[in-house]
Symmetry: C2
Subunit: 210 residues, 2 copies
Amino acid sequence: MEGKEISQAVIRRLPRYYRYLGELMESGVERISSNELSERMKVTASQIRQDLNNFGGFGQQGYGYNVKYLYTEIAKILGIDKSHNMIVIGAGNLGQAIANYANFEKRGFVVKGLFDINPRLQGITVRGIEVRGMEEMEDFIRANDIEIVALTIPKNKAPEVAERVVACGVKAIWNFAHTDLNVPPDVIVENVHLSESLMRLSYNIVKSKK
Amino acid sequence: MEGKEISQAVIRRLPRYYRYLGELMESGVERISSNELSERMKVTASQIRQDLNNFGGFGQQGYGYNVKYLYTEIAKILGIDKSHNMIVIGAGNLGQAIANYANFEKRGFVVKGLFDINPRLQGITVRGIEVRGMEEMEDFIRANDIEIVALTIPKNKAPEVAERVVACGVKAIWNFAHTDLNVPPDVIVENVHLSESLMRLSYNIVKSKK
DNA sequence: TAGATTGTTAATCGATTAACAATC
DNA sequence: TAGATTGTTAATCGATTAACAATC
């Protein structure tokens, strides 16, 4: 099933390394030391080296890391060297925003379909993707090799829809509903709870005033 | 300035406690033990008690916690017992989605204004909020006692706009741009990096296939 | 070769869990 | 009072940082 377990703390940092390396590439930097990267990213050089060495030795003593090589390797680790088919359920503003992110497609996330229960939204087109009714969902998932389902629907509908997509064999849910989903252990849920994020911000505001 | 420092790990969990307590209240539960809550939330009872005791003793031996009381107290800790004025910069789908969340207003986050550089969006109305041009931003922030600025704009514009709002005295930024913002130490930035979230999902998909 | 910087082991720090005395 | 469950201290676990030998 897997090798040695990598902590989620490390995983959480990987996309950020990836982003910085991408920016370095764009500005034409060819190599970088853990020390210089640590200054830019405001983390310790030790942490960078430890994190990367979870996946293998990407650097070279006396030289540092080759930016382009490391960028490519992290992409592989993150699985973004391959494309992932996705649908978005809930075609409200948030659903449309996600379907819209050209960015995602650049990184290999391809939004194949958009679904909504609201008949008034059905038929409209977002980035060339037609909004479909919920009754078409199961067939569409099977026919289009859908790997990821983004849920941008109200929390009360989310558990039921999650169950439906899981029953269809989907193993990854990107959950924007303000609720936790109960799924079998082999199904991955990545939560984006915007209201929780805002509350953390609020906490830090109040704290700073004290 | 502040009392003993509370770790961000604890802060990250507080909104989730709050959500569960809200649901318990809705289903008419009056009291709950750390043990029962731990089963529902799938965390240890020890962690719940430790977390809460960072802020004071909210429970009672032999009884547990009063749901409504604890809910209210956590609201106070999170600073959501008071209202916070907010503007959203970037009136694209994501910006509109955030302005739309009736939810936020219920929790005391009041979207007072919506701004965009695109003249075609200026004048349209989202939830009764007119989209304004960027040149009006500074005056609006000062006139409306704005505490939080949500940035739903492309990453290349974000640093410049962040600087402008900070220069206006704003101390809290809810950043959706795919970049880190450099702000003075007294300014709080809460990042929502959707693409990073999606990459973590992708990593976990790839890992589970191994 | 000498200098630089990694990969990796060891030390430290912090967070989580366990245990239990206090007490409602 | 007896039972339940907290608040809190102590033990464990894991993550971060420091140090340095290996090596390019």
